[in-house]
């Protein structure tokens, strides 16, 4: 099906599927580091498995980003 992912139209090898399956198909590394926005709404992680994506849906993968200063706790 065709989805708009990160603003770009894209054919995804998924017929009817959930957000969880989409993350797998898109080979999103570390899905726990991603917030998914579906048609403008941010999903909670526990909703991924129960939320289906449909033709033409707009998806954003928003990654957790910290900082570059590597200022870690000891």
């Amino acid at each position: 099906m065709n989805l708009i992912i990160s603003g770009k139209s894209e054919e995804v090898s998924l017929n009817e599927g959930t957000v969880l399956e989409l993350l797998k198909v898109k080979k999103v590394e570390m899905p726990e580091m991603v917030s998914v926005e579906l048609n403008g709404n941010i999903l909670r992680q526990h909703e991924y498995a129960a939320t289906t994506v449909k033709e033409g849906d707009q998806i954003e993968f928003l990654y957790f980003m910290g900082g570059g200063s590597l200022n870690c706790y000891e």
Binding site: M30, E32, M33, L62, M65, G67, G68, Y73
Partner: protein
């Protein structure tokens, strides 16, 4: 208060901007900005805000300058290695612009000290690199009704969102910190130095536009860029009515410290 001859000359390239003018420059001179983290994001933000004449700049960092910081933390120079970052940053800002009063806080921020620290400032810049602190800054600013700039960088990527009361907050995008084990260890991260400069500079521009009250801030929009392909996008973010901190019935009503991530790499 009016601008002195020397200030008119120093800030002339601001003053000739129709959206700044003498009145806008005066607002900048009267403003107070707190920068949390004197690292990759805080360094360029501090330099630009000092150059712009922000009247009071607070800078918070517990650490000393490390040799590996100098690739991107451009406010610190080679002779500053092993010196406190806040002291190194204060010296550079003072030399750059004597109009600026710099207040240093050589400490980490945590739930007990952040509210007191942010209360006198007009705008806060999150230049920190870890999620416990990012969530703490978000929550403290939401509870205090203070605008702030979130900034995150990773490898060649950057993201930034400006919170302003009534608009989407960081938790509207990321409801909870990532699980502890999921956070890439520091040794896996890495960052192109110039990417930190790009993002910290955007954060400084947000602070200045918030102060002068002109233009459209990055509220309800997450700016993301990938500097490997040099591709910029803004993604619309809706304020989440069920957000745990800024929603209609918040479940978080006081500040909490999340457990800091373990890290095996020294700064």
């Amino acid at each position: 208060m009016s601008l002195t001859e020397s200030q008119i000359e120093r800030y002339s390239r601001h003053i000739i901007l129709k959206d700044v003018g003498g009145a806008g420059q005066q607002k900048i001179l009267d403003s107070k900005v707190l920068i949390i983290g004197a690292g990759g994001l805080g360094a360029p933000a501090a330099l630009y805000l000092a150059a712009a004449g922000v009247g009071t700049i607070g800078i918070v960092d517990a650490d000393n300058v490390d040799l590996s910081n100098l690739q991107r933390q451009i406010i610190h120079f080679t002779p500053d290695v092993n010196q406190p970052k806040v002291e190194s940053a204060r010296q550079k800002m003072a030399e750059l612009n004597p109009d600026v009063k710099v207040i240093t806080y050589q400490t980490r921020v945590y739930s007990e000290n952040i509210s007191e620290m942010i209360k006198d400032y007009d705008f806060i810049i999150d230049g920190t690199d870890n999620f416990p602190t990012k969530f703490l800054i978000n929550d403290a600013c939401v509870l205090a009704g203070k605008p702030f700039s979130h900034g995150g960088i990773l490898r060649f990527n950057g993201q930034t969102l400006t919170y302003s009361p009534g608009h989407a907050c960081y938790r509207c995008i990321f409801p909870e910190p990532p699980p502890k084990g999921a956070v890439p260890t520091c040794s896996q991260a890495g960052i192109l130095g110039a990417v930190a400069g790009m993002l910290g500079t955007i954060q400084a521009a947000e602070a200045l536009r918030c102060i002068i009250g002109k233009g459209k801030l990055l509220t309800d929009r997450l700016l993301t860029f990938n500097a490997l392909d040099m591709d910029f996008r803004t993604i619309n973010i809706r304020k989440n009515p069920n957000c745990a901190i800024c929603g209609a019935n918040p479940s978080i009503t006081e500040l909490v410290d999340y457990e800091p991530p373990a890290c095996d790499l020294k700064r």
